[in-house]
Symmetry: C2
Subunit: 415 residues, 2 copies
């Protein structure tokens, strides 16, 4: 039996027990997990150092090393994420609907766990903790398959969490980490219908597309973000600069950062140099449309591919558009339906943009960087869904549940 099947089977066997744990039992386990992360911080950082060293030897980019790095503050944040999950209401058992039919049937719709959730992810080891906490709080078992670059960190973190769970009522087997980081183990998970109820990929485009294109287990597609910000003619200059800089440089490696800035030509007439200078001062390399390059020859001409590229780095496309509709058309053609923003003082334009742009999160006068479970107040998130089924946007606890109908009768038959 392969590692994947063995661990998924162990996880599945815990699901009847998990589904019937009380909120107190689950929260006690989460608290033990948070405490254990703090207690074992040094050993986790040492394990992470091995990953970082291997990464540097392999020539890993600065932005990827940044995702991979764990320090005291980031481990605190991971533990804090677990504590926030404790404070969140437990959705399991919630009665979502209750109604009586004319024939006397009483029908209740109840929240239940999904069952076993498979997470396939890349660098960031904080996903290991977030995913464990969110899945266990919702009565799900979880099979984690992280990337090779973080395997030392992940193994250490899961060992720490297993030790914590062994002191709780929650079965440690509900949390599984796949040690084999060959592509074969991920591919095996994709076809594990009957053992896995859902797959959530978290990572770059090729990881996610491999899952979406090949999985027979239902998938929640997350993350790929080609996010746009449109600066309208009436935008406030300092707000526009502040939002554009934040959306691009505050953490360029993540999916809700901006890849393309669209600027109304009337705004560009007045302020293109101010925008370009502010971005350049923040070390952003600019790729522009012909009109941008004509006005600012320092800007590199953008290629056709640039408009569909998620840079994840200090690179940005700029396009000057004649009107709101041209911005909407550009977004329709190039958006990954993640997060899109309009900066404007014109409320009719704002409303049209928020109505017509088809994305998980649409912003008026705020940075796209806010598309995040913590920022939305959901606690740690399992990912940001960019599909339309089941969940869309930052996924908090309810995104990790299913429902079931309970029907109470006294002998009803169908006529």
């Amino acid at each position: 039996m392969s590692e994947v099947i063995e661990k998924a089977t162990l996880a599945k066997e815990t699901t009847p027990l998990l589904a019937n744990l009380s909120t107190l039992q689950k929260n006690t386990a989460l608290k033990l997990m948070a405490d254990a992360l703090i207690e074992h911080k040094d050993s986790i950082i040492r394990a992470n150092e091995k990953d970082l060293e291997r990464g540097r030897e392999n020539g890993t980019s600065t932005s990827l090393l940044d995702r991979l790095r764990l320090n005291s503050e980031r481990i605190d944040a991971m533990a804090e994420g677990l504590l926030q999950i404790i404070d969140l209401p437990d959705p399991i058992g919630d009665v979502l609907e209750a109604f009586d039919r004319p024939n006397g049937l009483h029908i209740k719709k109840i929240r239940v766990p999904l069952g076993v959730i498979g997470i396939i992810y890349e660098a960031r080891p904080n996903v290991t903790v977030d995913a464990a906490g969110l899945c266990l709080k919702t009565g799900n078992a979880v099979v984690l398959r992280g990337g090779s670059s973080a395997i030392s960190s992940n193994e250490r973190i899961v060992a720490v969490l297993h030790e914590a769970l062994s002191k709780s009522d929650l079965p440690a087997d509900a949390l599984q980490l796949i040690i084999n980081t060959d592509r074969s183990s991920a591919n095996e998970m994709l076809k594990l219908n009957g053992l896995l109820d859902v797959l959530i990929p978290r990572g770059g485009h090729s990881l996610i597309q491999n899952v979406v294109k090949n999985a027979t287990v239902p998938v929640i597609e997350t993350g790929a973000g080609i996010c746009h910000t449109f600066i309208d003619a009436s935008a406030d200059l300092s707000m526009a600069i502040s939002i554009a800089i934040n959306a691009k440089v505050q953490r360029p490696s993540v999916c809700n950062s901006m890849e393309t800035l669209l600027i109304h030509q009337a705004f560009a007439d007045q302020h293109l140099d101010a925008i370009v200078n502010a971005l350049t001062e923040n070390n952003v390399e600019l790729h522009g449309c012909p009109e941008t390059v004509k006005r600012m020859p320092s800007v590199i001409p953008a290629t056709k591919e640039d408009w569909d590229t998620e840079y994840g780095d200090y690179t940005l496309n700029i396009k000057i558009v004649n009107e709101l509709d041209e911005a909407l058309n550009h977004i329709r053609a190039h958006s990954t339906m993640h997060s899109e923003c309009i900066v404007t003082e014109n409320s009719a334009h704002a409303e049209k943009f928020l109505q017509q742009v088809d994305a998980a999160a649409v912003y008026h006068n705020a940075s796209t960087r806010f598309t995040d479970g913590f920022e939305f107040g959901f606690g740690a998130e399992i990912g940001i869904s960019t599909q339309k089924l089941h969940a869309r946007g930052p996924m908090g606890l309810p995104a990790l549940t299913s429902t079931k109908y309970r029907i109470y009768g006294n002998g009803q038959i169908r006529g």
Copy 2:
């Protein structure tokens, strides 16, 4: 360009318009569709006659011909289904959540259409009308791909509905029927990411499994039903017989009918002959476990495969179990997680069964035949989801929607 791509593209082009139609505009279109079905009843029945004749020539089974048949009453029921959809609240635009963050961001979660829904289905032509009505009411476009056996009925129905839509504000291109009923057209739809937002298969096991196993477009799995009824020791005899007969014979061809009857041995000691006689009088062929056959030699011994067979006909498995837990274990091993029932006067047993059985609908003292959108009061249903993601059980209007976050700021950036 293939028929599938051409029609899916036409459907997709209508989605921005569809998403912004008022409830009144959509309801007016539905009323015109219902009126048109009644008005053109004769021509629909004539088209259906062609399908029935072809079916009889091809040696189609009685139960399949029953699914295929349209008569005046069934067309009335289809039109009535559309009128019921008019009466249902329009979920599009509903504000599901609205909250403020400490930084002043105002966040709203809004219901929006899914986009373009692909339906791949078999015999029953009423699906054509149900699917059109439910998808259009929720602002979705729909690409229907019915089976060859109902193609004459479906072509005529869609022609009638297109004529009705041409008198409405709703673009007729939002409703598409694929005329090519080769397997190739269904397979083409499975990979149509970017044009189709979701696929809903409705039909038998092999149709559904072909979609689940091969689709890269997200799928809502529906329908396959190996449903059990467990008669507990304390069950009321007349209620048990009434529910068992109803679950098996009221319409055996559909997915919520019963395939296996589990009987507590103490109940069997008293009443097995009464149960067997009642089923036999209703023309049900019985396949039994060894204990059943030992007690009632007229019962055919069940094969191993029988316990995993969806007969869709007047055939039923019977198994005698020693206790509730044996029934729960049998259901866990053989259920398709559709609809499961316990008949008992013991409320602790009822509660344990409803809690532990993992299915879309779990019943105490009522026939599994009630798992149905009409019976639940949702209006016509697009199918019964047997998966755990997005929707589970009978899918009414909210199952055909997605959500989007609108975020209102005044210059917020992330720190």
